[in-house]
């Protein structure tokens, strides 16, 4: 029998070869066979062809895909796609949130005209891509994530589930697309890219990780996906493709009783942190140290519980709800997105104002119903906690109200991006509600620094 190369659980395995034969470097002799990671496929292919080795890897079908999309790509999208083709279909396209990265992706799929898998960070994005690909190609689209597993030539999966999908069906996809590709260097999430033999690869993001953000992790994006092939910054598109936006801060006060509880809890919490000098001794990891201490030290346990009390208090203080109510009334008739810090508060608001919630618990069908109803104006408000944080397309929303909210730069950019999707030349507004003279104000300060370099 001739020598042949097979795909096995994310690796390429060489069978039936003469031991004396020179096998090129990516292959290693492990467990009685020559093996290598599947992403090496495109580099070992010329050698296999030269040696006349049977290639049993590809199981990707040729498809006859047609774009049923009336949207014409913008010039920068065409340029981005050309740059990607020039780079032999390997590399990342960096475009601001809302600038239509997905359109570039559908054109890439059409170009390769074979099976493709799309990796996304959240199940909510699984749904969004599912809907998009269904509409654009008018064919059945597979999904593979915690809730549902159905593998088809065009399949959408989460980074979390991608490893399992690729281990089993890696060689069924010729094109490997990573949405929000800045997630890929993360420890386990990169393995899926390593295990896929797909010769064509496309990364999409608004925030390509800096070199220092990739160090300390196992892989560099260039190696797994290819280089950046196209970049377009936010400022150059603002006002052209995206709506203008402004931000507004609403400061509220704690009630007398809340203030008393806050100060008491804060004294316990910060008292402990300062007394032990945790920030000094443990730097950025001081919170983890506090958590560890809370299992062995009674004072630390009290401080930890006090911290939880503070967060609960800020999350659900009367002032915020009063401000929210005023804002909902003020913006009556407009499409409003409300972001909350916790699921619990999201559901509380839902019951209070009889408005829908989208959370990680919301099923695909209900999510679709809610978003469709929001689009038609049947619903004017959606409450959400962390789910809509990344790239979910809600072009109708012109007002975003953030109650509390994380301090990270990336999260802020994504939230901002969402209400900027171009729909009509209306000004979008992002309103932050925060509690005066509490730890929340520090968070917002950090966020404004972030805005300047976006």
């Amino acid at each position: 029998m001739n020598a042949s190369v097979f795909f096995q659980g994310g690796t390429l395995v060489l069978y039936q070869t003469d031991d004396n034969e020179r096998v090129p470097t990516p292959f290693q002799f492990v467990k009685s066979r020559w093996r290598c990671e599947a992403y090496r496929y495109h580099t070992v292919l010329p050698w296999m062809q030269e040696q006349g080795i049977r290639n049993a890897v590809p199981r990707w079908p040729r498809l006859a895909l047609e774009l049923h999309d009336t949207r014409e790509p913008h010039e920068y999208q065409v340029q981005a796609l050309d740059a990607w083709k020039q780079a032999n279909g390997r590399g990342s396209i960096v475009l601001p949130t809302g600038a239509g990265k997905t359109l570039a992706a559908t054109h890439a799929i059409r170009h390769v005209n074979s099976s493709a898998v799309v990796l996304v960070p959240t199940t909510s994005l699984v749904y969004q891509w599912y809907a998009l690909l269904t509409n654009v190609f008018q064919t059945e689209i597979g999904v593979y994530y915690g809730g549902e597993k159905r593998v088809l030539p065009l399949t959408v999966t989460t980074y979390h589930s991608a490893g399992d999908l690729i281990a089993e069906y890696g060689n069924a996809f010729k094109l490997f697309i990573c949405d929000e590709v800045h997630h890929l260097p993360a420890k386990t999430w990169g393995e899926a890219a390593l295990m896929a033999p797909a010769p064509f690869r496309l990364g999409l993001t608004a925030t390509y990780p800096d070199e220092h953000e990739q160090t300390g992790e196992r892989w560099r994006l260039d190696e797994l996906i290819g280089p950046i092939v196209y970049t377009q910054r936010l400022e150059t598109l603002l006002g052209k493709q995206l709506a203008e936006y402004r931000t507004q801060r609403v400061r509220v006060d704690l009630t007398k009783e809340e203030r008393a509880r806050y100060e008491a809890a804060h004294a316990i919490y910060m008292g402990f942190v300062r007394e032990r000098g945790l920030q000094r001794t443990h730097g950025a990891g001081w919170m983890r140290e506090l958590m560890r201490l809370s299992t062995v030290d009674q004072d630390a346990r009290r401080a930890w519980l006090a911290r939880r009390q503070i967060l609960n208090l800020l999350d659900s203080c009367q002032g915020k709800f009063a401000a929210l109510e005023a804002l909902l009334q003020e913006h009556a008739g407009e499409r409003i997105l409300v972001f909350t810090e916790s699921n619990e508060v999201a559901y509380k608001i839902s019951r209070q104002y009889l408005v829908p919630v989208i959370s990680h618990e919301t099923s695909v069908a209900e999510r679709k119903y809610i978003l469709d109803a929001f689009q038609t104006g049947h619903y004017s408000v959606i409450i959400t906690s962390k789910v809509l944080n990344e790239g979910v397309d809600v072009p109708e929303a012109k007002v975003a109200i953030v109650l509390g909210g994380g301090a990270s730069k990336r999260e802020y950019l994504q939230r901002l991006g969402r209400i900027l999707r171009k729909k009509e030349p209306l000004e979008a507004v992002l309103i932050e509600v925060l509690v005066r003279n509490t730890i929340e104000e520090g968070k917002v300060q950090r966020r404004y620094v972030a805005r300047e370099d976006c």
Partner: protein
């Protein structure tokens, strides 16, 4: 299984050794906590998951061992059943109808002439519900709203603590990249579970019997200690506990450790498996064969000893565990393996034939049921001996073949007894009778 934040605080690292801080199942204070939580959980029968969680938090109070208490709570909840509240209208429909009115406010204004109260009353009336019922049912399908309908097994405090310890040991493997085990009994279950959890193994026979088995996954050699297979290794652990004599060491990278640590366990640990050992015969066919053999050829009646599944044939990246091993009692080196191929799905059979062919094993005897859609040619180029049978294997025929095989593979027997055994012709008719009597195999 426990969540990782319930495992992490209980891991201890000393040098390169990883220890899991287990609880003393006989500590009266811990038993009391276990007892309290078992009672508390029972008490929440019929109530929501969220209510149980809140009760657990309240019980924790400011105690420092909250990680332990939450672990017990998780074990209790995982082995119990929570089901959604039955509602006359699906919550989804209630929501669709309800949210069409939002946002609503307590006081009316120009844009919202209907108050919250009026809107709610209208919606509830439309469904024939009270406002309170409507409120209860609106999100009845959320996991947090699901009701505890079956509190699971009747735990004793010691059982609950023991299971908690097992879950801690499993949890340590969440960050495992690789497992090396040595076992010397009860393989069949082991291979079954290795397969079930989609692990990759590398087995070598050990001097003095048993196997040394390395467990990881296909991508492992290329990704320095990938944690991709940690969950599978953790899920697999109870299968190892089913073996009688074993030891394992796992290479683990818990988040709080700087580098790799080693976690060791062996059969002297007090952990108990909750997996079922297959123990009983896989099929009636095997059982009947074994009992007939015992009855007619067992003890002093023959020179062969029949044991079940004590040998493994390693076939590259798969294994075969033949159903029986016949060992010559006078000469232990003389061994014949028997595999019964009974009533199986054609796919299973195809794989089996592949395995047999790959085994290239001269001391393997296959007993194949003729009703199967398998032609005799399928086995033609196997090195093994094959007997086809109609209802069940004819013992006399089997023994004759075995003797011939043993002679071919191992040469003539030293003792002359063999010839006498072979010449017992009168038994023949009795075997025939049994054949007919045992025709209810389906």
């Amino acid at each position: 299984m426990l969540t990782s934040e319930l495992i992490r605080p209980r891991l201890r690292i000393r040098g390169s050794a990883l220890h899991v801080e287990m609880v003393n199942e006989h500590d009266p204070f811990l038993q009391q906590t276990a007892q309290d939580l078992i009672c508390l959980f029972q008490h929440y029968q019929g109530q929501s998951h969220a209510a149980w969680e809140a009760a657990l938090r309240a019980y924790e109070g400011t105690r420092l061992d909250y990680v332990f208490m939450r672990g017990l709570g998780k074990v209790l909840a995982d082995s119990a059943t929570f089901t959604p509240l039955m509602t006359p209208h699906p919550p989804l429909i209630l929501r669709e109808r309800t949210f069409a009115y939002g946002p609503v406010f307590e006081k009316p204004d120009m844009f919202h002439p209907t108050t919250r109260q009026e809107a709610l009353q209208g919606i509830a009336d439309g469904f024939g519900l009270s406002i309170a019922e409507h409120d209860e049912m609106l999100y009845a399908d959320r996991h947090a709203s699901h009701r505890l309908t079956d509190a699971g097994p009747a735990w004793t405090p010691v059982e609950l603590l023991a299971r908690y310890n097992l879950e801690l040991a499993r949890g340590a493997l969440y960050w495992a990249s690789h497992l090396t085990i040595e076992v010397s009994s009860n393989y069949k279950d082991l291979w079954k579970f290795i397969k079930l959890f989609k692990l990759m193994f590398w087995a070598q026979p050990m001097q003095g019997g048993g196997y040394r088995i390395d467990l990881d996954g296909p991508i492992s050699p290329f990704v320095t200690s990938t944690l991709r297979y940690g969950r599978q290794l953790a899920a697999f652990l109870p299968a190892l506990l089913l073996c009688e004599r074993w030891q394992m060491h796992a290479y683990v990278r818990p988040p709080q450790a700087k580098g790799e640590t080693i976690y060791r366990l062996d059969h002297t640990c007090s952990l108990r498996s909750h997996f079922k050992s297959s123990g009983v015969f896989d099929s009636r066919l095997e059982e009947d064969f074994a009992s007939e053999f015992e009855q007619k050829m067992g003890g002093k009646r023959g020179h062969w000893r029949l044991t079940r599944e004590s040998e493994v044939l390693l076939l590259g990246d798969t294994v075969m565990v033949p159903d029986f091993v016949l060992t010559d009692t006078k000469d232990e080196k003389r061994r014949i393996l028997i595999e019964l191929v009974g009533f199986w799905h054609p796919n299973y059979l195809r794989r089996k034939v592949e395995k047999v062919r790959a085994a290239n094993c001269t001391h393997l005897l296959l007993l194949v049921y003729k009703g199967l859609n398998v032609t005799e040619e399928a086995f033609q180029d196997t090195a093994s001996q094959v007997i086809f049978f109609q209802e069940k294997p004819v013992l006399k025929e089997v023994i004759e073949i075995i003797e011939a095989m043993a002679e071919r593979v191992y040469g003539p027997r030293q003792k002359p007894e063999r010839i006498r055994a072979k010449q017992r012709k009168p038994k023949h008719s009795r075997i025939e009778d049994d054949t007919i009597a045992a025709s209810d195999l389906e």
